[in-house]
Protein backbone atom coordinates (compact mmCIF):
# COMPACT_ATOMS: atom_id res chain seq x y z
CA UNK A 1 0.00 0.00 0.00
CA UNK A 2 1.42 3.33 -1.08
CA UNK A 3 1.57 5.69 1.87
CA UNK A 4 0.15 9.09 1.03
CA UNK A 5 0.70 10.66 4.45
CA UNK A 6 2.56 13.92 4.51
CA UNK A 7 3.64 15.81 7.63
CA UNK A 8 3.64 19.57 7.55
CA UNK A 9 4.05 22.16 10.29
CA UNK A 10 0.72 22.25 12.12
CA UNK A 11 -0.83 19.21 10.51
CA UNK A 12 -0.46 15.68 9.28
CA UNK A 13 -2.25 15.13 6.00
CA UNK A 14 -3.68 11.76 5.02
CA UNK A 15 -2.74 12.74 1.48
CA UNK A 16 -0.94 15.71 -0.06
CA UNK A 17 -3.89 17.08 -2.09
CA UNK A 18 -6.03 20.04 -1.04
CA UNK A 19 -8.20 22.57 -2.84
CA UNK A 20 -6.54 25.97 -3.38
CA UNK A 21 -7.71 29.18 -1.79
CA UNK A 22 -10.49 30.98 -3.60
CA UNK A 23 -11.41 28.02 -5.76
CA UNK A 24 -13.37 26.12 -3.15
CA UNK A 25 -15.18 28.77 -1.13
CA UNK A 26 -15.44 27.44 2.40
CA UNK A 27 -16.13 23.89 1.29
CA UNK A 28 -19.93 23.87 1.43
CA UNK A 29 -20.50 23.86 -2.31
CA UNK A 30 -18.16 21.00 -3.08
CA UNK A 31 -19.49 18.95 -0.18
CA UNK A 32 -22.57 18.55 -2.37
CA UNK A 33 -20.39 16.58 -4.78
CA UNK A 34 -18.34 14.43 -2.41
CA UNK A 35 -17.29 13.78 1.16
CA UNK A 36 -14.68 16.38 2.09
CA UNK A 37 -13.04 13.89 4.47
CA UNK A 38 -11.27 12.53 1.41
CA UNK A 39 -9.18 15.69 1.10
CA UNK A 40 -5.70 16.12 2.52
CA UNK A 41 -6.69 19.55 3.83
CA UNK A 42 -8.83 22.52 2.83
CA UNK A 43 -7.53 26.01 2.16
CA UNK A 44 -10.31 28.53 2.68
CA UNK A 45 -11.07 31.60 0.58
CA UNK A 46 -9.12 34.71 1.66
CA UNK A 47 -10.27 36.45 4.85
CA UNK A 48 -9.93 40.20 5.36
CA UNK A 49 -10.66 42.30 8.43
CA UNK A 50 -14.09 43.42 7.26
CA UNK A 51 -16.46 42.10 4.63
CA UNK A 52 -15.40 42.97 1.06
CA UNK A 53 -17.57 43.00 -2.02
CA UNK A 54 -14.72 42.64 -4.48
CA UNK A 55 -14.46 43.90 -8.03
CA UNK A 56 -17.13 44.62 -10.60
CA UNK A 57 -18.11 41.88 -13.03
CA UNK A 58 -17.05 40.34 -15.35
CA UNK A 59 -14.58 38.80 -12.99
CA UNK A 60 -13.37 35.85 -15.01
CA UNK A 61 -12.24 35.14 -18.54
CA UNK A 62 -11.09 31.98 -20.23
CA UNK A 63 -7.62 31.78 -21.77
CA UNK A 64 -5.69 29.02 -23.55
CA UNK A 65 -5.36 26.22 -20.96
CA UNK A 66 -6.20 28.66 -18.21
CA UNK A 67 -8.34 31.47 -16.94
CA UNK A 68 -8.08 34.97 -15.58
CA UNK A 69 -9.83 35.99 -12.40
CA UNK A 70 -10.25 39.29 -10.66
CA UNK A 71 -12.61 38.42 -7.85
CA UNK A 72 -11.00 41.03 -5.60
CA UNK A 73 -10.95 39.10 -2.33
CA UNK A 74 -14.71 39.14 -1.83
CA UNK A 75 -15.41 37.59 1.56
CA UNK A 76 -17.69 38.10 4.55
CA UNK A 77 -14.85 39.25 6.83
CA UNK A 78 -12.82 37.22 9.29
CA UNK A 79 -15.38 37.28 12.11
CA UNK A 80 -18.15 35.75 10.06
CA UNK A 81 -15.75 33.27 8.56
CA UNK A 82 -14.87 32.17 12.09
CA UNK A 83 -18.45 32.01 13.31
CA UNK A 84 -20.20 30.75 10.19
CA UNK A 85 -17.72 28.95 7.95
CA UNK A 86 -15.02 27.40 10.13
CA UNK A 87 -17.54 25.44 12.24
CA UNK A 88 -18.98 23.89 9.11
CA UNK A 89 -15.57 22.75 7.90
CA UNK A 90 -14.63 21.69 11.44
CA UNK A 91 -17.40 19.10 11.13
CA UNK A 92 -15.04 17.24 8.80
CA UNK A 93 -11.91 15.47 9.89
CA UNK A 94 -9.64 17.52 7.66
CA UNK A 95 -6.97 20.10 8.50
CA UNK A 96 -8.07 23.67 7.75
CA UNK A 97 -5.78 26.37 6.42
CA UNK A 98 -7.01 29.95 6.60
CA UNK A 99 -5.93 32.31 3.81
CA UNK A 100 -5.15 35.72 5.33
CA UNK A 101 -5.26 38.96 3.35
CA UNK A 102 -5.25 42.65 4.10
CA UNK A 103 -4.68 46.17 2.80
CA UNK A 104 -2.32 47.11 5.61
CA UNK A 105 0.03 45.22 7.87
CA UNK A 106 -2.33 46.01 10.74
CA UNK A 107 -5.16 44.29 8.88
CA UNK A 108 -3.02 41.19 8.28
CA UNK A 109 -2.25 41.14 12.00
CA UNK A 110 -5.89 41.57 12.94
CA UNK A 111 -7.04 38.77 10.68
CA UNK A 112 -4.23 36.43 11.74
CA UNK A 113 -4.89 37.17 15.40
CA UNK A 114 -8.59 36.45 15.00
CA UNK A 115 -7.82 32.89 13.93
CA UNK A 116 -6.11 32.29 17.29
CA UNK A 117 -9.61 32.20 18.76
CA UNK A 118 -10.75 29.09 17.01
CA UNK A 119 -9.26 25.72 17.71
CA UNK A 120 -10.24 24.32 14.31
CA UNK A 121 -7.80 26.16 12.09
CA UNK A 122 -4.46 24.39 11.71
CA UNK A 123 -2.41 26.93 9.84
CA UNK A 124 -2.45 30.26 8.07
CA UNK A 125 -1.65 30.92 4.45
CA UNK A 126 -0.43 34.49 4.24
CA UNK A 127 -1.65 35.90 0.96
CA UNK A 128 0.86 38.57 -0.01
CA UNK A 129 0.34 37.85 -3.66
CA UNK A 130 -3.21 38.70 -4.70
CA UNK A 131 -2.95 40.63 -7.96
CA UNK A 132 -6.57 41.78 -7.92
CA UNK A 133 -6.81 44.41 -5.24
CA UNK A 134 -5.62 48.00 -5.36
CA UNK A 135 -4.04 47.93 -1.92
CA UNK A 136 -2.29 45.16 -0.11
CA UNK A 137 -1.94 41.78 -1.70
CA UNK A 138 0.81 41.71 -4.26
CA UNK A 139 2.39 44.97 -3.12
CA UNK A 140 3.57 43.15 -0.01
CA UNK A 141 4.80 40.20 -1.98
CA UNK A 142 6.85 42.00 -4.63
CA UNK A 143 9.47 43.37 -2.28
CA UNK A 144 11.59 41.07 -0.09
CA UNK A 145 11.66 43.53 2.83
CA UNK A 146 7.94 44.13 2.81
CA UNK A 147 7.34 40.41 2.55
CA UNK A 148 9.61 39.77 5.52
CA UNK A 149 8.00 42.49 7.52
CA UNK A 150 4.42 41.20 7.09
CA UNK A 151 5.62 37.69 7.87
CA UNK A 152 7.36 38.80 11.02
CA UNK A 153 4.40 40.81 12.27
CA UNK A 154 1.95 38.04 11.60
CA UNK A 155 4.20 35.44 13.22
CA UNK A 156 4.38 37.66 16.29
CA UNK A 157 0.61 37.73 16.81
CA UNK A 158 -0.35 34.26 15.57
CA UNK A 159 -0.20 30.98 17.42
CA UNK A 160 -0.41 29.06 14.15
CA UNK A 161 2.16 27.94 11.61
CA UNK A 162 2.35 30.48 8.80
CA UNK A 163 2.73 29.51 5.14
CA UNK A 164 3.59 32.55 3.06
CA UNK A 165 1.97 32.51 -0.36
CA UNK A 166 4.33 33.88 -2.98
CA UNK A 167 3.64 35.70 -6.21
CA UNK A 168 5.22 34.56 -9.48
CA UNK A 169 5.22 38.16 -10.74
CA UNK A 170 8.81 38.72 -9.79
CA UNK A 171 12.24 38.49 -11.33
CA UNK A 172 13.67 36.73 -8.32
CA UNK A 173 11.46 34.37 -6.37
CA UNK A 174 14.39 32.89 -4.45
CA UNK A 175 15.25 36.16 -2.74
CA UNK A 176 11.65 36.64 -1.62
CA UNK A 177 11.46 33.07 -0.36
CA UNK A 178 14.71 33.42 1.57
CA UNK A 179 13.55 36.66 3.02
CA UNK A 180 10.31 35.24 4.44
CA UNK A 181 12.20 32.19 5.67
CA UNK A 182 14.47 34.46 7.68
CA UNK A 183 11.43 36.33 8.93
CA UNK A 184 10.14 33.17 10.53
CA UNK A 185 7.75 31.63 8.03
CA UNK A 186 6.93 27.98 8.69
CA UNK A 187 6.27 27.15 5.09
CA UNK A 188 5.71 28.51 1.61
CA UNK A 189 2.77 28.30 -0.67
CA UNK A 190 3.46 28.88 -4.33
CA UNK A 191 2.47 30.03 -6.75
CA UNK A 192 -0.34 32.54 -6.81
CA UNK A 193 -1.54 33.76 -10.20
CA UNK A 194 0.47 35.55 -12.89
CA UNK A 195 -0.99 38.93 -13.79
CA UNK A 196 -2.64 38.86 -17.20
CA UNK A 197 -5.21 40.54 -19.38
CA UNK A 198 -7.60 39.74 -22.18
CA UNK A 199 -8.99 42.29 -24.65
CA UNK A 200 -12.60 41.86 -25.69
CA UNK A 201 -12.58 42.56 -29.42
CA UNK A 202 -16.25 43.47 -29.62
CA UNK A 203 -15.94 46.12 -26.93
CA UNK A 204 -12.37 47.10 -27.72
CA UNK A 205 -11.63 47.16 -24.02
CA UNK A 206 -10.15 44.74 -21.48
CA UNK A 207 -12.75 42.05 -20.85
CA UNK A 208 -12.47 42.05 -17.06
CA UNK A 209 -14.02 45.00 -15.28
CA UNK A 210 -10.79 45.16 -13.27
CA UNK A 211 -8.84 45.18 -16.57
CA UNK A 212 -6.13 42.80 -15.29
CA UNK A 213 -6.68 39.47 -13.60
CA UNK A 214 -4.72 36.55 -12.26
CA UNK A 215 -3.78 33.81 -14.71
CA UNK A 216 -4.20 30.28 -13.39
CA UNK A 217 -4.60 26.78 -14.76
CA UNK A 218 -2.36 24.40 -16.73
CA UNK A 219 -0.92 27.33 -18.71
CA UNK A 220 1.14 28.41 -15.68
CA UNK A 221 2.30 24.99 -14.51
CA UNK A 222 5.80 25.29 -16.04
CA UNK A 223 6.28 28.60 -14.21
CA UNK A 224 5.18 27.03 -10.93
CA UNK A 225 7.47 24.03 -11.34
CA UNK A 226 10.41 26.24 -12.20
CA UNK A 227 9.88 28.48 -9.17
CA UNK A 228 9.36 25.61 -6.73
CA UNK A 229 12.44 23.86 -8.07
CA UNK A 230 14.53 27.02 -7.70
CA UNK A 231 13.26 27.81 -4.21
CA UNK A 232 13.70 24.22 -3.01
CA UNK A 233 17.40 24.46 -3.85
CA UNK A 234 17.90 27.44 -1.57
CA UNK A 235 15.29 27.34 1.15
CA UNK A 236 14.52 24.57 3.60
CA UNK A 237 10.87 25.40 4.30
CA UNK A 238 8.18 22.94 3.23
CA UNK A 239 6.31 24.09 0.15
CA UNK A 240 2.65 23.72 -0.73
CA UNK A 241 2.78 23.73 -4.51
CA UNK A 242 0.08 24.87 -6.90
CA UNK A 243 -0.45 26.14 -10.41
CA UNK A 244 -2.29 24.19 -13.06
CA UNK A 245 -2.56 20.83 -11.31
CA UNK A 246 -5.19 18.61 -12.99
CA UNK A 247 -3.93 15.05 -12.60
CA UNK A 248 -2.05 12.76 -10.23
CA UNK A 249 0.89 12.94 -12.65
CA UNK A 250 0.91 16.71 -12.15
CA UNK A 251 1.00 16.15 -8.39
CA UNK A 252 4.05 13.92 -8.75
CA UNK A 253 5.71 16.56 -10.91
CA UNK A 254 5.24 19.09 -8.11
CA UNK A 255 6.54 16.67 -5.47
CA UNK A 256 9.63 15.92 -7.53
CA UNK A 257 10.24 19.66 -7.99
CA UNK A 258 10.17 20.08 -4.23
CA UNK A 259 6.61 20.58 -3.02
CA UNK A 260 5.60 18.66 0.12
CA UNK A 261 1.91 18.96 -0.64
CA UNK A 262 -0.16 20.53 -3.38
CA UNK A 263 -3.26 22.61 -3.91
CA UNK A 264 -5.66 22.33 -6.83
CA UNK A 265 -7.44 25.49 -7.94
CA UNK A 266 -8.82 26.08 -11.41
CA UNK A 267 -9.24 22.39 -12.17
CA UNK A 268 -12.13 22.25 -9.69
CA UNK A 269 -14.09 24.42 -12.11
CA UNK A 270 -13.55 22.10 -15.05
CA UNK A 271 -14.25 19.03 -12.97
CA UNK A 272 -15.85 19.38 -9.54
CA UNK A 273 -14.59 15.91 -8.59
CA UNK A 274 -11.00 16.58 -9.54
CA UNK A 275 -9.57 16.46 -5.98
CA UNK A 276 -10.95 13.05 -4.97
CA UNK A 277 -10.17 11.72 -8.46
CA UNK A 278 -6.54 12.80 -8.16
CA UNK A 279 -6.30 11.34 -4.66
CA UNK A 280 -7.64 8.04 -5.93
CA UNK A 281 -5.15 7.92 -8.80
CA UNK A 282 -2.14 9.05 -6.80
CA UNK A 283 -1.07 5.69 -5.29
CA UNK A 284 -1.09 4.09 -8.73
CA UNK A 285 0.94 6.92 -10.24
CA UNK A 286 3.49 6.92 -7.41
CA UNK A 287 3.86 3.19 -7.77
CA UNK A 288 4.29 3.37 -11.53
CA UNK A 289 7.27 5.64 -11.05
CA UNK A 290 8.75 3.53 -8.27
CA UNK A 291 7.65 5.29 -5.10
CA UNK A 292 6.29 3.53 -2.01
CA UNK A 293 5.09 6.78 -0.51
CA UNK A 294 4.31 10.35 -1.40
CA UNK A 295 6.85 11.61 1.12
CA UNK A 296 9.61 9.76 -0.71
CA UNK A 297 8.99 11.72 -3.90
CA UNK A 298 9.40 15.15 -2.33
CA UNK A 299 12.33 16.95 -3.90
CA UNK A 300 13.49 13.85 -5.74
CA UNK A 301 13.73 15.74 -9.02
CA UNK A 302 16.88 17.42 -7.72
CA UNK A 303 20.37 16.12 -8.34
CA UNK A 304 22.25 13.60 -6.16
Amino acid sequence: MTDLTVKLPGMTLTNPVMPASGCFGFGREYSAFYDLNQLGAVIMKAATGNARFGNDTPRVAETASGMLNAIGLQNPGVQRIITEEVPYLAGYDVPIIANVAGSTIAEYEKVAEAFNHTSSVNALELNISCPNVKEGGIQFGADPDMAASVTEKVKAVSGLPVYVKLSPNTADIVTIARSVEQAGADGLSMINTLTGMQMQLSRQRPLLANETGGLSGPAIKPVAIRMIYAVKKHVSLPIIGMGGICTAEDVLEFLLAGASAVAVGTANFTNPYVCPEIIKQLPRVLERYGFDSAAEAIGRGHDE
Partner: protein, 251 residues
Protein backbone atom coordinates in the same frame (compact mmCIF):
# COMPACT_ATOMS: atom_id res chain seq x y z
CA UNK B 1 -29.36 17.58 -6.46
CA UNK B 2 -26.99 18.66 -9.16
CA UNK B 3 -24.66 16.04 -10.62
CA UNK B 4 -21.78 15.85 -13.00
CA UNK B 5 -22.76 13.35 -15.64
CA UNK B 6 -22.68 12.48 -19.32
CA UNK B 7 -25.80 13.22 -21.34
CA UNK B 8 -26.27 11.53 -24.68
CA UNK B 9 -26.94 13.70 -27.71
CA UNK B 10 -30.19 12.63 -29.39
CA UNK B 11 -30.65 15.31 -32.02
CA UNK B 12 -28.77 18.40 -33.18
CA UNK B 13 -30.42 20.90 -35.45
CA UNK B 14 -29.81 24.45 -36.63
CA UNK B 15 -33.16 26.12 -35.94
CA UNK B 16 -32.16 29.68 -36.82
CA UNK B 17 -29.06 31.56 -37.91
CA UNK B 18 -26.15 30.17 -35.85
CA UNK B 19 -28.65 28.82 -33.37
CA UNK B 20 -28.51 25.15 -32.43
CA UNK B 21 -31.21 23.09 -30.81
CA UNK B 22 -29.83 20.01 -29.09
CA UNK B 23 -31.79 17.29 -27.38
CA UNK B 24 -29.90 15.50 -24.62
CA UNK B 25 -30.92 12.31 -22.92
CA UNK B 26 -30.50 11.60 -19.24
CA UNK B 27 -33.14 10.06 -17.02
CA UNK B 28 -31.97 11.68 -13.81
CA UNK B 29 -31.27 15.19 -15.10
CA UNK B 30 -34.58 15.32 -16.96
CA UNK B 31 -36.46 14.31 -13.84
CA UNK B 32 -34.69 16.72 -11.53
CA UNK B 33 -34.62 19.75 -13.85
CA UNK B 34 -36.87 22.79 -13.53
CA UNK B 35 -37.41 25.49 -16.17
CA UNK B 36 -34.96 28.34 -15.71
CA UNK B 37 -32.17 26.13 -14.44
CA UNK B 38 -29.09 25.60 -16.56
CA UNK B 39 -26.62 22.94 -17.52
CA UNK B 40 -22.97 23.73 -17.00
CA UNK B 41 -21.54 22.15 -20.10
CA UNK B 42 -17.98 21.04 -20.69
CA UNK B 43 -16.69 22.00 -24.11
CA UNK B 44 -13.81 19.72 -25.05
CA UNK B 45 -10.44 21.37 -24.49
CA UNK B 46 -11.81 24.27 -22.47
CA UNK B 47 -11.03 25.19 -18.89
CA UNK B 48 -14.35 26.81 -18.03
CA UNK B 49 -17.72 25.17 -18.52
CA UNK B 50 -20.43 26.93 -20.53
CA UNK B 51 -23.75 27.73 -18.85
CA UNK B 52 -26.66 26.89 -21.16
CA UNK B 53 -30.28 27.19 -20.10
CA UNK B 54 -32.67 24.32 -20.09
CA UNK B 55 -35.12 25.23 -22.86
CA UNK B 56 -37.51 22.35 -22.47
CA UNK B 57 -37.90 19.20 -20.42
CA UNK B 58 -39.48 15.96 -21.51
CA UNK B 59 -39.71 13.88 -18.36
CA UNK B 60 -41.46 11.03 -20.13
CA UNK B 61 -38.72 10.46 -22.69
CA UNK B 62 -35.97 11.53 -20.29
CA UNK B 63 -34.70 14.38 -22.41
CA UNK B 64 -33.71 18.01 -22.02
CA UNK B 65 -33.62 20.41 -24.92
CA UNK B 66 -31.10 23.22 -25.01
CA UNK B 67 -30.85 26.01 -27.57
CA UNK B 68 -27.67 27.94 -27.99
CA UNK B 69 -26.10 30.45 -30.25
CA UNK B 70 -22.69 29.73 -31.69
CA UNK B 71 -20.58 32.54 -30.24
CA UNK B 72 -17.01 31.46 -29.57
CA UNK B 73 -15.04 28.26 -29.66
CA UNK B 74 -16.92 26.51 -26.84
CA UNK B 75 -20.33 26.72 -28.44
CA UNK B 76 -18.74 25.95 -31.79
CA UNK B 77 -17.34 22.69 -30.43
CA UNK B 78 -20.67 21.91 -28.88
CA UNK B 79 -22.48 22.55 -32.14
CA UNK B 80 -20.25 19.96 -33.81
CA UNK B 81 -21.47 17.16 -31.55
CA UNK B 82 -23.29 14.34 -33.29
CA UNK B 83 -26.14 12.12 -32.11
CA UNK B 84 -24.82 9.34 -29.90
CA UNK B 85 -21.96 11.42 -28.54
CA UNK B 86 -21.83 12.36 -24.88
CA UNK B 87 -21.84 15.80 -23.39
CA UNK B 88 -20.37 16.24 -19.95
CA UNK B 89 -22.58 18.48 -17.84
CA UNK B 90 -23.01 19.62 -14.27
CA UNK B 91 -26.69 20.06 -13.69
CA UNK B 92 -29.40 20.80 -13.19
CA UNK B 93 -27.69 23.96 -11.90
CA UNK B 94 -29.08 27.03 -10.19
CA UNK B 95 -32.57 28.00 -9.17
CA UNK B 96 -35.19 28.09 -11.88
CA UNK B 97 -38.46 29.96 -12.25
CA UNK B 98 -40.89 29.99 -9.38
CA UNK B 99 -44.25 29.12 -10.85
CA UNK B 100 -46.88 30.63 -8.60
CA UNK B 101 -50.13 28.76 -8.96
CA UNK B 102 -52.43 30.98 -6.95
CA UNK B 103 -53.63 33.54 -7.49
CA UNK B 104 -51.70 33.93 -10.77
CA UNK B 105 -53.88 33.24 -13.77
CA UNK B 106 -51.88 34.86 -16.52
CA UNK B 107 -48.14 35.28 -16.98
CA UNK B 108 -46.31 37.58 -19.36
CA UNK B 109 -43.02 36.30 -20.76
CA UNK B 110 -40.57 38.79 -22.24
CA UNK B 111 -37.54 37.34 -23.95
CA UNK B 112 -34.70 38.72 -26.01
CA UNK B 113 -32.50 36.65 -28.35
CA UNK B 114 -30.75 33.88 -26.57
CA UNK B 115 -32.81 34.76 -23.48
CA UNK B 116 -35.80 33.16 -25.18
CA UNK B 117 -34.91 29.45 -24.63
CA UNK B 118 -35.47 29.27 -20.86
CA UNK B 119 -38.82 30.99 -21.29
CA UNK B 120 -40.03 28.20 -23.51
CA UNK B 121 -39.66 25.56 -20.83
CA UNK B 122 -41.37 27.95 -18.47
CA UNK B 123 -44.24 28.47 -20.92
CA UNK B 124 -44.73 24.73 -21.13
CA UNK B 125 -44.71 24.44 -17.35
CA UNK B 126 -47.17 27.31 -16.95
CA UNK B 127 -49.47 25.74 -19.51
CA UNK B 128 -49.33 22.42 -17.65
CA UNK B 129 -50.35 24.27 -14.48
CA UNK B 130 -53.25 25.89 -16.31
CA UNK B 131 -51.80 29.37 -16.22
CA UNK B 132 -52.34 31.60 -19.24
CA UNK B 133 -49.23 32.61 -21.16
CA UNK B 134 -48.60 35.70 -23.28
CA UNK B 135 -45.18 36.13 -24.83
CA UNK B 136 -43.23 39.00 -26.30
CA UNK B 137 -40.14 37.75 -28.08
CA UNK B 138 -37.41 39.93 -29.52
CA UNK B 139 -34.78 38.89 -32.06
CA UNK B 140 -32.20 40.68 -34.19
CA UNK B 141 -33.89 39.76 -37.45
CA UNK B 142 -36.18 37.20 -39.02
CA UNK B 143 -33.19 34.93 -39.62
CA UNK B 144 -32.54 34.75 -35.88
CA UNK B 145 -36.10 33.79 -34.92
CA UNK B 146 -36.78 30.37 -33.46
CA UNK B 147 -39.66 28.69 -31.64
CA UNK B 148 -42.22 31.27 -32.85
CA UNK B 149 -44.82 28.59 -33.66
CA UNK B 150 -44.11 26.74 -30.44
CA UNK B 151 -44.82 29.81 -28.35
CA UNK B 152 -47.89 30.58 -30.45
CA UNK B 153 -49.26 27.14 -29.72
CA UNK B 154 -49.10 27.96 -26.00
CA UNK B 155 -50.50 31.49 -26.05
CA UNK B 156 -50.64 34.87 -27.69
CA UNK B 157 -47.19 35.72 -28.95
CA UNK B 158 -45.88 39.09 -30.15
CA UNK B 159 -42.79 39.11 -32.29
CA UNK B 160 -40.31 41.96 -32.37
CA UNK B 161 -37.17 42.35 -34.48
CA UNK B 162 -34.43 44.97 -34.35
CA UNK B 163 -34.62 45.43 -38.09
CA UNK B 164 -38.35 44.95 -38.61
CA UNK B 165 -37.96 41.86 -40.78
CA UNK B 166 -40.57 40.11 -38.64
CA UNK B 167 -43.27 41.51 -36.36
CA UNK B 168 -42.84 44.85 -34.67
CA UNK B 169 -39.80 46.87 -35.75
CA UNK B 170 -38.00 47.95 -32.59
CA UNK B 171 -37.62 46.76 -29.03
CA UNK B 172 -39.71 44.42 -26.89
CA UNK B 173 -40.30 47.30 -24.50
CA UNK B 174 -42.13 49.23 -27.26
CA UNK B 175 -45.06 46.87 -27.08
CA UNK B 176 -45.22 45.76 -23.46
CA UNK B 177 -48.65 47.38 -23.03
CA UNK B 178 -50.06 45.55 -26.03
CA UNK B 179 -50.02 42.44 -23.86
CA UNK B 180 -52.84 43.71 -21.66
CA UNK B 181 -53.52 42.25 -18.24
CA UNK B 182 -51.26 39.72 -16.51
CA UNK B 183 -50.38 38.71 -12.97
CA UNK B 184 -46.68 37.97 -13.07
CA UNK B 185 -44.00 38.55 -15.60
CA UNK B 186 -40.85 36.61 -16.39
CA UNK B 187 -38.03 38.05 -18.43
CA UNK B 188 -34.72 36.89 -19.80
CA UNK B 189 -32.36 38.67 -22.15
CA UNK B 190 -29.61 41.28 -22.20
CA UNK B 191 -29.24 43.48 -19.11
CA UNK B 192 -30.38 46.73 -20.79
CA UNK B 193 -33.56 44.97 -21.86
CA UNK B 194 -34.15 43.55 -18.39
CA UNK B 195 -33.65 46.97 -16.85
CA UNK B 196 -36.13 48.57 -19.22
CA UNK B 197 -38.67 45.78 -18.77
CA UNK B 198 -38.46 46.01 -15.01
CA UNK B 199 -38.76 49.77 -15.11
CA UNK B 200 -41.86 49.67 -17.30
CA UNK B 201 -43.50 46.84 -15.39
CA UNK B 202 -42.77 48.22 -11.94
CA UNK B 203 -45.63 47.30 -9.64
CA UNK B 204 -46.08 43.86 -11.15
CA UNK B 205 -44.43 40.95 -9.45
CA UNK B 206 -41.79 39.63 -11.77
CA UNK B 207 -38.78 37.39 -12.19
CA UNK B 208 -35.61 38.09 -14.12
CA UNK B 209 -33.13 35.54 -15.37
CA UNK B 210 -29.60 36.95 -15.37
CA UNK B 211 -26.36 36.04 -17.12
CA UNK B 212 -22.81 36.51 -15.98
CA UNK B 213 -19.45 34.93 -16.79
CA UNK B 214 -18.88 32.01 -14.47
CA UNK B 215 -15.91 30.28 -12.93
CA UNK B 216 -17.07 27.35 -10.85
CA UNK B 217 -20.80 27.49 -11.64
CA UNK B 218 -21.34 26.02 -8.24
CA UNK B 219 -21.25 28.91 -5.80
CA UNK B 220 -17.66 28.67 -4.64
CA UNK B 221 -15.64 31.24 -6.57
CA UNK B 222 -17.77 34.41 -6.51
CA UNK B 223 -17.19 35.15 -10.17
CA UNK B 224 -20.87 35.57 -10.95
CA UNK B 225 -22.17 37.91 -8.30
CA UNK B 226 -24.82 40.56 -8.78
CA UNK B 227 -25.48 43.29 -6.24
CA UNK B 228 -28.71 42.62 -4.40
CA UNK B 229 -30.93 43.82 -1.57
CA UNK B 230 -29.77 41.02 0.69
CA UNK B 231 -27.87 41.02 3.94
CA UNK B 232 -24.60 40.23 2.21
CA UNK B 233 -25.31 42.81 -0.47
CA UNK B 234 -25.02 40.29 -3.29
CA UNK B 235 -26.35 37.13 -4.83
CA UNK B 236 -24.59 34.45 -6.85
CA UNK B 237 -26.11 33.93 -10.27
CA UNK B 238 -24.94 30.34 -10.51
CA UNK B 239 -26.61 29.11 -7.32
CA UNK B 240 -28.92 31.81 -5.94
CA UNK B 241 -30.08 32.47 -9.54
CA UNK B 242 -30.00 32.66 -12.47
CA UNK B 243 -33.66 33.57 -11.78
CA UNK B 244 -34.25 36.33 -9.24
CA UNK B 245 -37.20 38.23 -7.93
CA UNK B 246 -37.17 41.41 -10.02
CA UNK B 247 -37.10 43.62 -6.92
CA UNK B 248 -34.23 41.79 -5.31
CA UNK B 249 -31.31 42.42 -7.67
CA UNK B 250 -29.59 45.70 -8.44
CA UNK B 251 -28.91 45.94 -12.15
Amino acid sequence: MKKRTEMTVETVQEVALDTIEMKLNHPYISTAAQPGQFLHVLAEGHTLRRPISIASIDREYGTITILFKVMGSGTKNLAAMKPGMEVNVVGPSGNGFTVQETPARTALLVGGGIGVPPLYGLAEELQRKGIGVKSILGFQSRAHVFYKEKFERIGTTYMVTDDGTLGHHGLVTDILDKAGRFDHYYSCGPIPMLKAVREQLRGHPGFLSLEERMGCGTGACLACVVRAETESGYQKICTDGPVFDADEVIL
